[in-house]
């Protein structure tokens, strides 16, 4: 008795098959009754990626202590770097358009970026899956590998922004005092720049990860990426200090778009539209390259025998 209405409900909620088409056998395919139902599911991409973002977040939220330990280390390095920059701005007040408080803020905001932007590289599962051959499975999934990884990485970045981004800022504020964005518009600009910086960071790391397909070992590519990211992003020293044409070049790299650009927007020392344009340019360019790379590895995987 009790189970009967439930069954009725279920049958009512079943996906509406297309009665105009012939009934579906065990092998559903195009031109059968079930076909439309499958297409609807395949189009349900937004919930799929939203779920992946959540899984990425939860996956990293499992390691609370590791994240807090990372936040602690980032904060300690922030303090050490802040002292050095304070000594520099004591010697040269107003250098490069920054005050001492800007220099200190820069130290802590860049340390806060290390987690979410994954500035030391990695963070993606793609290299491991290429080595193990599991990537063959990922490539036949009815979802783009790039978007899939991006959604997971967004969840990771979101969690680390909370767990590893906020503590260094609070410590910097408590020890030295830092600037905060003034007003909702400023916050919105910063969050946009932060998201754009993350997109550039993901696009770059995805390209590095794909290189494993050709290089087999990812250590070389990772070290190469680190060599470029560490000095050119601004996490060691504000790029505004780099003199001459070298400075111009460094400030236009995708690495500057990950750290220097959002930090400048945060402190209000940037021309916001120009900064966002630079970030958008690099995000689009690197994501497009990543999409081409994803197409290329499909062929590569077949050659390797999967």
């Amino acid at each position: 008795m009790a189970s009967q209405p439930e069954i009725r409900l279920r049958s009512r909620a079943a996906p509406a098959d297309n009665p105009a088409l012939p009934s579906a056998g065990p092998c559903t395919g195009s031109g059968t009754e079930r076909h439309r139902a499958i297409t609807i599911r395949r189009c349900a991409t937004i919930p799929l990626y939203a779920r992946l973002v959540r899984y990425g977040f939860r996956k990293h939220a499992t390691y609370v202590w590791a994240a807090l330990a990372g936040a602690f280390t980032n904060s300690v390095f922030g303090v050490l770097r802040a002292y050095v920059l304070i000594a520099l701005w004591d010697a040269r007040p107003g250098l490069a358009g920054y005050d001492v408080v800007h220099a200190v803020t820069f130290c802590f905001i860049t340390q806060a970026f290390i987690g979410p932007m994954q500035l030391f590289g990695g963070g993606l599962t793609v290299p491991e899956r290429i080595r193990s051959g599991d990537i063959a499975l990922d490539l036949v999934r009815p979802a783009s590998l790039q978007l899939w990884s991006m959604a997971e990485d967004l969840g990771r970045a979101g969690y680390l922004a909370l767990a590893r981004g906020i503590p260094p800022l609070l410590l910097g504020a408590a020890l030295f005092g830092i600037v905060w964005p003034a007003g909702a518009g400023h916050w919105a600009a910063f969050l946009t720049a932060f998201a754009a910086g993350w997109a550039v960071s993901f696009a770059w790391r995805y390209l590095v990860a794909l290189s494993v397909c050709w290089l087999v070992d990812d250590r070389g590519a990772n070290a190469f990426s680190l060599v470029l990211t560490t000095p050119c992003s601004g996490m060691m020293v504000p790029l505004v200090l780099v003199p001459g044409p070298l400075g111009e070049v460094v400030r236009a790299t995708p690495f500057a778009a990950m750290v220097q650009a959002p930090a400048d927007v945060y402190m209000g020392t940037a021309d916001v539209p120009r900064t966002l344009a630079l970030q958008a340019f690099w995000a689009v360019a690197l994501l497009a390259l990543g999409a081409l790379g994803t197409r290329a590895i499909r062929h590569k995987v077949v050659i390797q025998g999967g």
């Binding site: 330990a69 280390t73 002292y83 050095v84 000594a87 040269r92 490069a96 070992d217 250590r219 200090l241």
Partner: protein
């Protein structure tokens, strides 16, 4: 003990040398990565002639001394901080039943000879600073003393960090703040840091004896924080005390080690 260390190091070196191109690339990239630290110092001194009372070449001298000691330890001892991975994976149990000290097995675990690039890079900076600074030759005897005590201090720090990981298996990254943080701290003249911080790294964690106190003697400078002159020569004593504490902590860690049972 030394011979088993060398045997293990040689075994890992041969393994690394199997991929010669990769090895050469790692040496190159490793020295470039540490060279960014020097690049930062140069960028800072491109904007000022003196940082916290020290010239560029004096700062490079202090950087070079600490860099040589730190990168040697990074090469020969720092593998210790992978111990929490071995504890979690259960592979540390195997190390305990082998007839070689677990400290030696851990220190040589996945030894990376390619880190020699970092040592060379720091040595080049130190050589440059010694060449351009007009130092009193009568004070240069301190140089080998400070490098050796620096090595002992950093090696003890890594041992302490490894011992702490017996307790901190879930968050071994905390110890990076002390090991790599010390490397970062000793890159700059301590006069740049706050008075309380310098007190802490003089009297609690004796990092001031790596390059700051003895370096003041070599450079013939007075301490801006006004510590008495005999402190310049306490480096070896501080190193020995820290080494004893580290050995004690490591033994305690081993004694209280409980296998994961896997």
């Amino acid at each position: 003990m030394v011979s088993s260390y060398l045997v293990l190091v040689w075994a890992w070196t041969r393994a690394a040398m199997a991929y010669r191109a990769s090895f050469a690339l790692m040496v190159l990239l490793g020295s470039v990565i540490t060279a960014t630290d020097v690049a930062v110092i140069l960028v800072i001194f491109a904007n000022t002639t003196s940082l916290a009372g020290f010239s560029r070449d004096e700062a490079l001298f202090l950087y070079g001394v600490a860099g040589v000691a730190f990168s040697l330890c990074d090469m020969f001892v720092s593998n210790l901080d992978r111990i929490s991975q071995h504890i979690k994976a259960g592979t540390f149990d195997a190390m305990l039943i082998r007839p070689v000290s677990p400290w030696i097995q851990m220190a040589t675990d996945r030894f990376m000879p390619s880190r020699i690039g970092r040592v060379l890079q720091a040595a080049v900076v130190l050589g440059y600073a010694l060449a351009v600074l007009d130092l009193d030759p009568g004070r240069l005897w301190m140089l080998p003393v400070m490098i050796v005590s620096g090595i002992v201090i950093f090696a003890s720090l890594w041992t302490l960090a490894a011992a702490a990981q017996f307790v901190l298996t879930d968050a071994p990254e905390v110890t990076n703040a002390f090991t790599y943080g010390s490397g970062q701290l000793t890159q700059y003249p301590f006069s740049a840091y706050g008075r309380d911080l310098v007190r802490g790294v003089t009297y609690v964690l004796p990092l001031a004896f790596v390059n700051w106190q003895p370096g003041l003697y070599v450079l013939d400078r007075a301490d801006p924080f006004g510590t008495p002159g005999f402190m310049r020569f306490l480096g070896p004593a501080a190193a020995v005390v820290l080494a004893l504490l580290a050995a004690l902590a490591w033994r305690q860690g081993l004694r209280h080690y409980r296998s994961t049972g896997s």
